[in-house]
Each structure stands twice: as structure tokens, then as C-alpha cells.
Symmetry: C2
Subunit: 265 residues, 2 copies
């Protein structure tokens, strides 16, 4: 097993550039008898990065996308980094690797999200890659780690940074990369030695319009409690399930008397 260590050596704001970070890990791997090559390209140069891997190893099995991004403290920070380096980087590297993985009929992609993101807004990379990759044995999962790092030492007390070891995250990544692991499209929180899985829960919701009548915001307000009530919530796992249930509402409103009924029932 040979590893390609990619690290731009950026500071926590995404600026600067140094080869030290990648070199240090490569040295550690070699000291333990492993084989490793360093690469200092930005993940934004996805093609270059993947080409280095191909030139060195002839094939790409696994890669772990993990670039710097500061925790939210200000709105301006988050998005600058998420969107310039994080998301774009993940995408460019994925795109560059995709055809090679497809041809060799093997690939494992692990993306990094943060818990701040999980309880917030929503992108598409993980789901799409998971779905598209299935028939080529390309799996894509996402982890939301908590660990002491150059990143978190700026926002966490030193003893916590020391206790929350990256070694308590790495075994999950290793397992997700293993060819025996069938997990695909999953999202995991991991840290301190604990691992948990996340999924969506959807309220039964409510139909707030009646046949041949305009739908109005007052009806939405009046039914708000029911819309937000998670009793008997469903667990839709993909966009098809979601879409089907919504389309079914059309005929249910037409056949009347069913106002307020749950589309997923």
C-alpha cells in the first residue's frame, strides 16, 4: 500500500502555502515502513492531483477529501471557504477521479462535512455520487468529525484539542474505504471514539389547499402546528420517494374530502 499525501499547507484562512504538512506525514509513514509520496497541489487543481496519483501508482482506489475550513464564527468566513475550497475542491477532485474509478470498477470517496453544516443547509455531492457510483462499485459517504487539529486549536481549549485525537476518527475512514464495506450515501458523526449515523426525518405535514380554490398563506399559518408535528414522521431515503408522495397529493386533492391527509400514508 502506497499513499499519496496531498496538502497545500495552507493556513487556517486558506492563504499561504508550505510543503511541511504533507512532508511530515510522508516521513511518518516511511519511518513505519510504509510507502508514501507528497503532493502540494491545491485540491482546486483536481486534475493535477489525480494525475500525480496515477503517475505514481497507476490507479486510484481511495481518496479522502479533507481540506481546511474554519468553523463558523462569522458568516463571511464560512461561505468563502466552504464554497471556494471545500465544495469546489471536493467536486473537482471527484470529477478528475471519476472516469478512472469507473473504468477500474472500484472507488471509495469520503467527503468531510462539519456538524455545523449537517444541522443546516444542503448540498448534493454526496447523494449524487452515491447514486451514480452504485453500479460501478464506487461508494460515497460523508463524515462529520470532531478532532483536535490546526483548525480546531484556534477555537477549542488546549486540553480538549489534545484529548480529541484524530486517531479516533481515522479508523472510521479506513473502514469506509475498505472493499468489504458496502455502506453508500451515508453520513456519520465521529469523534472521541464514538460513531453515530444520521438520517432525515420528515413530518407527515399537511395539505393546505382545497380543490378549485387558490392556496393562501393564511391556510399555511393556520396549519403550521400540524405541518411541523413530527408524530409518526417518515424517513424518506431518496428523492424518488419524496417526489412520488408529493405528486400523489394532486389526485388526493382532486378526489376531495381528504384535505389534511398525509401524502405518504
Amino acid at each position: 500500500q502506497i499513499s499519496l499525501m496531498n496538502d497545500l499547507g495552507a493556513d487556517t484562512k486558506g492563504g499561504g502555502k508550505s510543503s511541511a504538512a504533507a512532508d511530515k506525514v510522508v516521513e511518518e509513514i516511511r519511518a513505519k515502513g510504509g510507502k508514501a509520496v507528497a503532493n502540494y497541489d491545491s485540491v482546486e487543481d483536481g486534475e493535477k492531483l489525480i494525475q500525480t496519483a496515477l503517475d505514481t501508482f497507476g490507479r486510484i482506489g481511495v481518496y479522502y477529501i479533507c481540506t481546511a475550513m474554519l468553523w463558523l464564527s462569522e458568516l463571511i468566513l464560512i461561505s468563502n471557504l466552504i464554497q471556494r475550497v471545500h465544495l469546489r475542491g471536493s467536486f473537482l477532485v471527484t470529477r478528475a477521479a471519476w472516469n478512472h474509478m469507473k473504468n477500474q470498477k472500484f472507488g471509495r470517496i469520503i467527503m468531510t462535512a462539519s456538524a455545523a453544516g449537517i444541522y443546516g443547509n444542503f448540498g448534493q455531492a454526496n447523494y449524487s455520487a452515491a447514486k451514480l457510483g452504485r453500479k460501478y462499485n464506487i461508494h460515497c459517504n460523508t463524515i462529520a468529525p470532531v478532532a483536535g487539529s490546526r483548525l480546531t486549536e484556534t477555537v477549542m481549549p488546549p486540553d480538549l484539542v489534545a484529548s480529541l485525537k484524530p486517531e479516533y476518527v481515522a479508523p472510521l475512514v479506513l473502514w469506509l474505504c475498505h472493499d468489504q464495506c458496502q455502506e453508500n450515501g451515508g453520513l456519520f458523526e465521529v469523534g472521541a471514539g464514538w460513531i453515530g449515523k444520521l438520517r432525515w426525518e420528515r413530518s407527515q405535514g399537511d395539505i393546505v389547499r382545497q380543490k378549485n380554490q387558490p392556496m393562501n398563506p393564511e391556510a399555511v399559518r393556520d396549519q403550521w402546528e400540524k405541518i411541523c408535528d413530527f408524530t409518526d414522521a417518515t424517513k424518506p431515503t431518496n428523492i424518488q420517494e419524496s417526489l412520488q408522495s408529493i405528486v400523489s397529493v394532486l389526485s388526493r386533492v382532486e378526489s376531495e374530502g381528504e384535505v389534511g391527509a398525509n401524502p405518504t400514508a
Copy 2:
């Protein structure tokens, strides 16, 4: 009430530019006795857009971020658009409006996600804005609509495009924009007259390391079923809850005998 209709008039791939789309809506509003002004800037020029609104109205109450993005059919499509227009656009507009909202102590932001994104990967804009805005009475919610549009007519049968009216989405947006609406940080699926709410569910998970022993991928593999078991799942609503429970694992591992216990119990 005066509206600013922003629309670049782009084609479904994000290219092209025409004033027709925004003009048409402005005309419709005026025909009904309302006041409206058109704006053809890209959401990527957030400052310009918000300045036009300020010049016209003197204040920004509500804005609804809604730009073109094609449904996933290929990996390359999604990310190009999501990341260049969607996420970046949402962010730039939010940033430009933020201080004005802060000063006037009122704001409502509605972002648009797609169901494909919801069951997939995760960004941060909604959560961060919701959290940061709370003390200024700035709320941020996200909707995942299903409706016939120039966008969906390329992927849906014509009768479905005609049936799934945008009028079945708009009342939710209106209610979320209302100053009586206290909802903040929520995510809603909406279409056909039905509205449902989404939230995360987290498995109890498992602690897969023991005191003074390295954590290894074999333990992760062996406990995989438990890690992914959603019996008695919790519903963490924010990053603090998530973090606290993970940090608590540290002392639980130290006090031993509790291997496998749930950090959230």
C-alpha cells in the same frame, strides 16, 4: 408593498441573459395594482442587487433567493451550478443584505434547496444565518419546492409541469416572510398543496474504543450494525448538542466499563 424582481434571465444551463423573465413578473404585479421594479443583475453581484433595492425602497425586509439550477442528471452539472450560482449567489446576496437587516433589526431570508440535496450532502448557510440572525430578528429558513417551471419542464412530463403549480409553493414563502412567523432554521418540502418539515435523526451509535488502547478499523467493522441502528434515535437540533455529547465520551471511556454506551443517554 413594493417588490424588486431580480432575474438574470439565464437559460437552464446558467448561460445567456435576458430581461424578459423579470419584466413579465413586474408587469403582472403592476396589472394587479401592485408596485414592482425589475432588476437583471446576477445574484453573484449581490452588492449591486441589494443597492438597487435600497435605492428604490430605502430598506430590505425580505428577499427570496431562487436561482436556476438543473436537476441532477450528471455529476458535472450539479456541482458547476450549485457551487457557482446557487451557493455562492445565496451567500453573496446574504452578505450584502446582512448589515442592513442587522441595523433595521428585521430580516427574513428564504433559501432554496432541492430534495436531491436534502437527502445528500450538507452546507452551512441556513444554520449559520439562522443562528447568527436570531438576536436581530433575522430568520432564515430553507424550502425544497417541487413545481413546474422552465427548469422542470426539461425533466418532467408536460401534464405534471402544468399540475404542479408554483402557486402551491408561494404561500409557504409568504408565510415564512411574515413578521408574525417565528420559524427559524427550518427546512420544508413543499409542492402540490402539501407542506412537510424535515429534521435530522441521529442513531445512538457506539463507542468503539477502550481506555488506553488504540482504536482500530476492525472494531468499527464489528460494531457497524449498532452504529447504524436507529432504535431510540435522538434528534439533535444544533451543533452544541452534538459536540457536548461527543466530548462526554472522553470521560466515559476513562471511567471504563461503559464501552458501547450511548453518549447522548
